[in-house]
């Protein structure tokens, strides 16, 4: 089984095998247009994908943050200065003026 992201209107990009992910941790994927995505699965096996770039430092590191859940919402904490980002909406939970892009994800069979 693979993890696929929607990178434009209706094309899905296969990023990796689902088994490449440890629940609770992330990996980074290089997209065809040179952008980077951070992929995660949570404890229940649900996949998430957001931009890898930490908007506070500019560094491509969000995939290396720890994920968690608060009030039922999944988030990742930046490994640099620990701001939290909602994994579904991309909104920064510590500064509402900041957000990261999110990608739709699905589990593919190929």
């Amino acid at each position: 089984m693979t993890l696929q992201l929607r990178i434009d209107d209706d094309s899905w990009f296969t990023a990796c095998a689902l088994s490449d992910l440890i629940p609770g941790r992330g990996v980074a994927a290089l997209l065809p247009d040179g952008r980077q995505a951070a992929l995660f699965t949570d404890r229940a096996g649900r996949p998430y994908a957001i931009e890898n770039r930490d908007p506070f430092s500019g560094a491509q590191v969000l995939s290396r943050g720890l994920i968690g859940s608060a009030n039922g919402r999944p988030f990742v904490a930046s490994p640099l200065l620990k701001q939290r980002f909602d994994l579904e909406t991309g909104l920064c939970l510590d500064d509402e003026t900041v957000a990261v892009q999110t990608f739709a994800v699905r589990v593919g069979v190929s």
Partner: protein
């Protein structure tokens, strides 16, 4: 084009600086030229904390305001150039360097000068005053050749100066004319309690005697004092601290009205008799006929004057009519506080007192006939000060006796919750409880209200007023502290984070994903207790990113590498390998503050390649990324040094190898010095060892960093085996009971019973757990394996070290470097640019 108005400020002390900040906050610095004449050779500093210079704060630490404050607001500051004359006719000020400034508004903030009684010999070599950093530097230098010191004056400042002299190693005398110490603040009972405590600290106090003369030797150097009771005192150094007088000479010379006993007379807006001239701070005589020698009223005057100058004449909204004289003495070891109407001057008021002459505790509250708290004096135990001061002026919720009775005898400790919202909790900045509770953290409080940034005596209370105070839980997932979780994991033998979260987490967090706070904490507890490879199974998902990649993440997403160099000892061959690795991978190389070498700028996929070479050469992980043992620094010791009495290098290496890899609530640092000269700085470490002729002294709880703390001596003259056993116990007891990210220093400060309790537990085994603690350390020592050696030999583990899961060979193109002093540094411009391009 009209020229902007000019505001000239004379004096750049605490109040002058506050005035400038108040002007800037009101935007006045944008529309006016502001010129400041400063007599001292350095810009404004925290005079209130002056004495902390002797406990290690540097003059730079004492500086007030942001470093770029003057530049940012375009304020012209002339250091070392006092004003010498004012011409009110032509509205000009002349300085000593001969500069002349024309002002539209003039603000005098010249402070006070120390009063030196006109006794013979007062100007002799060895006589000092205590007001400026320069005074302290001079006293410090002179004290090196002195053995005895005397302070003239037993008030607040005199006692502070006496504490400082005694801290410099001088046998110290205090000579006070009044019949008791601190006569302004405390009453007779308080003075008696204070006397006992001060004498208990080894100072000699002479009350009720005046200083008649300072005597000198043939060379004119101080050698003693003669006192009004006919006695004499031998002393090498005299500090005058007999009160201060407002510096009003400039004002007098230009014909401004001054008070009979000094002070530049001002109205409620801090205007002098000339409406173009203001006076604020200690040089001003307020409308209530008082000159205030404290910083809080000065700050209020600064705000008032700034408000008046910023506003139009009609709408001067602020007024300074007088202030409260509350003080808390910061002298080490003696708690003294007085607040409100401490002497009971109000009509018909009543006293409630508690006194225990054995322990030197004296407390008095002054209460009005209708039950309002008017003021009080606390000596020997001033814990209640922070709570009582804000209650002043209102009827306390419980009987006054209960507020001052000793713990356990019917006393009631008022929680901060019982304070009304308008109670002033920070006196220095006049901040109320309501303003504090509107914020959510101490940094926010400091930023938004300035509370806590003055004398600091309110910080404890503020901490209690802020949220999360009721809930000691680690985070949103667990209601327990780290040490409670440790006990749960240990006694229930829990081996997984998920099990712990689902069985002991907060209701709403069970079944969830936890968070970035508790995951690494529990990861560390599991590692301390089980000693396995930290990146196996579920454990891998718990580690902070640094532990996950066994390296330290840097700001551009690259990593740094710190190989362990036990005791700081390294062979030329190993140094060459480090050099070659750094050269081949293009890494920035720096000697760290911990006697080893840091290599910066590696990409994730380079880490295993680099470590393969390092491991081959015999290096191990230095755990610079872990909450674990960092370094054990050493000095060369007996082997080379002419003073050394033990082999400090060998001991440092032994200790570093023994405790390497030990996971703890926070990082652990150590050092071993070969003699009391302490070249390895062991007393600033979590555990530090200093050689003696008979063995080793063990110090614990030291810290550098943000809040430095000198370590405490735990045990003396230990043999090698005794030393190691005691450190084993100490470390395991810390790991077991400390909170998350609590260094040994803060842990020891918090530990109930402090050092004595610690000694009872780890030296005298009062809890009967030492055997267990030693056994746990033995398990750690025997189970230690190098994390990097394990990683590079395991393909499965290695597969994690890639920049991209779908392109394992591709380097991350955003990690770029530019040259810097013949090496590299991160290309941060690229990272910002990339953001603008993508966004």
């Amino acid at each position: 084009m009209s020229t902007p108005p000019t505001i000239v400020v004379v004096g750049h002390g605490m109040v002058g600086q506050r005035f400038l900040e108040a002007l800037a906050e009101r935007g006045v610095t944008n529309r006016a030229r502001v010129v400041v004449l400063c007599e001292e050779p350095r810009p404004a500093y925290d005079r209130v904390q002056l004495t902390s210079y002797f406990s290690g704060r540097t003059p730079d630490d004492l500086a007030l305001g942001e470093p770029d404050f003057m530049d940012r607001h375009g304020i012209e500051l002339h250091l070392d150039d006092p004003a010498t004359a004012i011409d009110r006719e032509s509205r000009t000020v002349t300085s000593r360097a001969g500069r002349t400034f024309t002002y539209d508004t003039l603000v005098l903030a010249t402070g006070s000068y120390p009063f030196v009684p006109p006794v013979p010999g007062k100007d002799a070599e060895g006589c000092f005053v205590y007001r400026t950093i320069e005074d302290l530097l001079a006293i410090e230098a002179y004290a090196k050749t002195a053995r005895t010191g005397a302070v003239v004056g037993g008030g607040l400042l005199g006692l502070e100066a006496a504490g400082a002299l005694s801290g410099l190693g001088l046998a110290t005398h205090v000579v006070e004319f009044a019949p008791r110490l601190m006569p302004v603040q405390v009453d007779e009972g308080g003075g008696a309690a204070l006397l006992r405590t001060i004498e208990g600290m080894g100072l000699t106090v002479h009350t009720g005697v005046g200083t008649q003369a300072v005597t000198t030797d043939d060379a004119g150097v101080v050698n003693g004092m003669s006192l009004s009771d006919g006695s004499t005192l031998e002393t090498d150094l005299v500090v005058f601290s007999a009160g201060v007088r407002p510096r009003d000479q400039l004002a007098r010379d230009c014909g401004l009205s001054v008070g009979e006993r000094g002070g530049i007379a001002v109205d409620e807006q801090c205007r002098t008799s000339d409406p173009a001239v203001f006076a604020i701070g200690e040089c001003a005589l307020a409308v209530d006929g008082r000159v205030y020698g404290l910083v809080a009223p000065g700050y209020e005057m600064a705000e008032t004057a700034a408000e008046t100058i910023a506003g139009t004449a009609e709408e001067a909204s602020k007024a300074f009519t007088g202030a409260d004289m509350s003080t808390k003495l910061k002298l080490l070891g003696v708690d003294v506080a007085s607040f409100g109407d401490a002497h009971g001057h109000a009509e018909g008021c009543l006293d409630v007192t508690y006194s225990d002459s054995r322990s030197g505790v004296y407390k008095k509250l002054v209460v009005s006939p209708d039950g309002k708290l008017l003021g009080g004096v606390l000596v020997g135990d001033a814990d209640a000060y922070a709570m009582l001061r804000p209650l002043t002026g209102s009827v306390p919720p419980v009987a006054p006796e209960q507020l001052i009775a000793p713990a356990g005898s019917g006393s009631v400790t008022l929680g901060p919750s019982s304070l009304p919202d308008d109670a002033v909790v920070c006196n220095c900045h006049n901040v109320t409880k309501g303003q504090v509770t509107a914020c959510s953290s101490l940094p926010e409080v400091k930023k938004c209200t300035k509370a806590g940034t003055g004398c600091g005596s309110c910080v404890k209370l503020i901490g209690q007023l802020l949220p999360q105070s009721g809930d000691k839980g680690l985070c949103g997932c667990f209601p327990h502290t780290r040490s409670e979780l440790y006990e749960i994991v240990r006694t229930l033998r829990i081996t997984s984070y998920a099990t712990l979260l689902d069985s002991h987490g907060r209701e709403e967090a069970r079944g969830g994903d936890g968070c970035e706070i508790c995951k690494p904490t529990v990861g560390s507890i599991l590692a301390s207790l089980s000693n396995g490879y930290i990146l196996d199974g579920e454990q891998a998902a718990l580690q902070d990113t640094n532990d996950h990649f066994l390296a330290n993440l840097q700001r551009n997403g690259s990593y740094s590498i710190v190989p362990r160099i036990p005791g700081g000892e390294v062979t030329p061959e190993k140094l060459i390998v480090i050099g070659e690795v750094a050269r081949d991978f293009g890494l920035y190389t720096k000697i760290t503050g911990g006697q080893r070498i840091d290599l910066f700028g590696a990409r994730v996929e380079q880490l295993p390649l680099i470590w393969t070479r390092l491991v081959d050469a015999g290096f191990e992980s230095g755990h610079a990324y872990g909450k674990a043992l960092r370094t054990v620094k050493s000095c060369v010791g007996q082997t080379w040094c002419r003073y050394g009495v033990q082999d400090s290098v060998r001991m440092a290496i032994d200790l570093e190898l023994r405790y390497r890899g030990l996971r703890a609530p926070h990082k652990l640092k150590s050092a071993v010095s070969g003699c009391a000269r302490e070249c390895a700085e062991a007393q600033s470490k979590d555990f530090g060892v200093i050689a003696t002729a008979n063995g080793w002294n063990l110090y614990v709880g030291g810290n550098g960093g943000a809040t430095p703390r000198h370590a405490d001596l735990l045990a003396q003259d230990l043999s090698d085996a005794e030393l190691v056993r005691l450190i084993d116990r100490f470390l395991m007891f810390y790991i077991r009971t400390a909170d998350r990210l609590e260094r040994t220093s803060t842990w020891l400060e918090r530990l109930e019973g402090g050092l004595d309790h610690l000694r009872d537990v780890v030296v005298h085994d009062s809890l009967g757990i030492c055997e267990q603690l030693e056994a746990m350390m033995a398990t750690h020592v025997s189970g230690y394996r190098d994390e990097w050696a394990e990683t590079i030999n395991d393909p499965e583990r290695l597969s994690r070290f890639v920049s991209f899961v779908n392109a394992p060979d591709a380097p991350d193109p955003s990690v770029r470097f530019v040259p810097e002093r013949d090496q590299i540094k991160p290309d941060l411009t690229f990272l910002t640019l990339e953001g603008t391009r993508a966004g």
